[in-house]
Amino acid sequence: MTRKGRRLAMIGSAVAVLAVALGLVLFAMRGNVTYFFSPTEIVEKNVQPGARLRVGGLVKEGSVLKEAGQKITFLVTDTTRDLKVTYVGLLPDLFREGQGVVAEGVLDAADRFTATTVLAKHDENYMPREVADSLKKQGHWQGEKPAAQK
């Protein structure tokens, strides 16, 4: 092996070792790296009441209830399980039924979630309104559905 080849091999193995080390660290920390949990993950992880966390999923169709003041309740669903979320405050423009949402707050003993922040999550679909309308009309609509159904 030439000197250049040796240097290249040494650099290659150093980067590989580094990548494996970082991969292990991120794998061990995956619970902290993840930005939100789905309602199913919250049940599976057996989250204790009073814990502060973020829940993410879709706003279930027909579940949004606006009450007195700015109080609002809705169900966050991952299509397997739902979680009831209560929130008082302003909602982002993209918030609507069937749309992705991330709520930050506290889980109580009755498995209800009191949110202090509600963020809208945008999906990866970009199209003009006319295209969206004609897709809906023709029944080819793929958007605003959870990844599990695709």
Partner: protein, 253 residues
């Protein structure tokens, strides 16, 4: 191809290339801006805010692409010990930092109206911020070490350490739950952006690439010239004369 790795031949080649890449870059940016802001429809959900994407996404791609260029240059420095690779590395770092900043800034501007927040510590946003810090670290490292060959080696090592962040940025949206949406263009099953919105994005990306090439070639030329000035000054100083640096300083004083 390899003969242009000779700095003198490179100076000539770059000099001939720069007007073309500059003209292409400026022309495409004109067309691209028109398509982005006037010639394309609004998004069905985001409305006019979608236009931020035409700056944000090409900047993000450039931030990653420039890191790729720097990684090849870092290998050129460490494996082939080539001075042109040193210059290419040094010249790319501030450009990479600038594109990463534009990406973070425009992303934040889009995030407030769409998500409802300027910034969240999700995996995609955080790994992109780490990339920005790596770029700044590289710029600082180049400025800290006076001797160009030593600076090039140190920067090359840091660049190769930082390369592990690149797949993390790309796949963060697939590996973890993130607020940031998954990839829309480079994904399995083809793009999820309608062609009327994809074309402006493609033209802007091409424009950004040519603008980067232009600025990179110009910066490499400057770096080669700065090194020549430095070497001539040192030779002159060892002979006890006033070198080009002193002459230049005298002329501007």
């Amino acid at each position: 191809m390899l003969k242009y790795a000779n700095p003198t031949l490179f100076m000539g080649l770059a000099g001939r290339l720069i007007p073309w890449t500059a003209a292409l870059g400026l022309g495409l940016i004109g067309v691209g801006l028109y398509m982005s802001f006037l010639g394309s429809p609004a998004d069905y959900q985001q409305g006019e805010s979608v236009r931020i994407m035409y700056i944000h996404v090409p900047s993000a791609w450039m931030a990653l692409f420039i890191y790729g260029v720097m990684t090849s240059a870092a290998l050129g420095t460490l494996v082939w010990r080539h001075p042109l690779a040193d210059a290419a590395q040094k010249a790319a770092a501030p450009l990479g930092a600038a594109f990463t900043f534009v990406c973070l800034f425009t992303g934040s501007m889009w995030g407030k109206p769409m998500w409802g927040t300027w910034w969240e510590w999700d995996a995609r946003l955080t790994s992109m911020l780490v990339l920005f810090l790596i770029y700044l670290g590289l710029v600082a490292l180049w400025r800290t070490i006076e001797e160009p060959t030593r600076a090039a080696k140190a920067a090359a090592v840091l660049t190769l350490v930082g390369v592990v962040n690149i797949p993390i940025i790309k796949f963060s949206v697939d590996w973890w739950n993130t607020l940031h949406q998954p990839a829309s263009v480079f994904r399995m099953g083809g793009p999820t952006i309608h062609s009327s919105l994809l074309w402006p994005l493609a033209v802007m990306s091409l424009a950004f690439t040519f603008l980067f090439m232009t600025m990179h070639l110009m910066a490499i030329r400057n770096e080669i010239l700065a090194r020549r000035v430095r070497r001539l000054s040192m030779e002159a100083a060892s002979r006890g004369e006033a070198g080009p640096r002193a002459v230049v300083r005298g002329a501007t004083a």
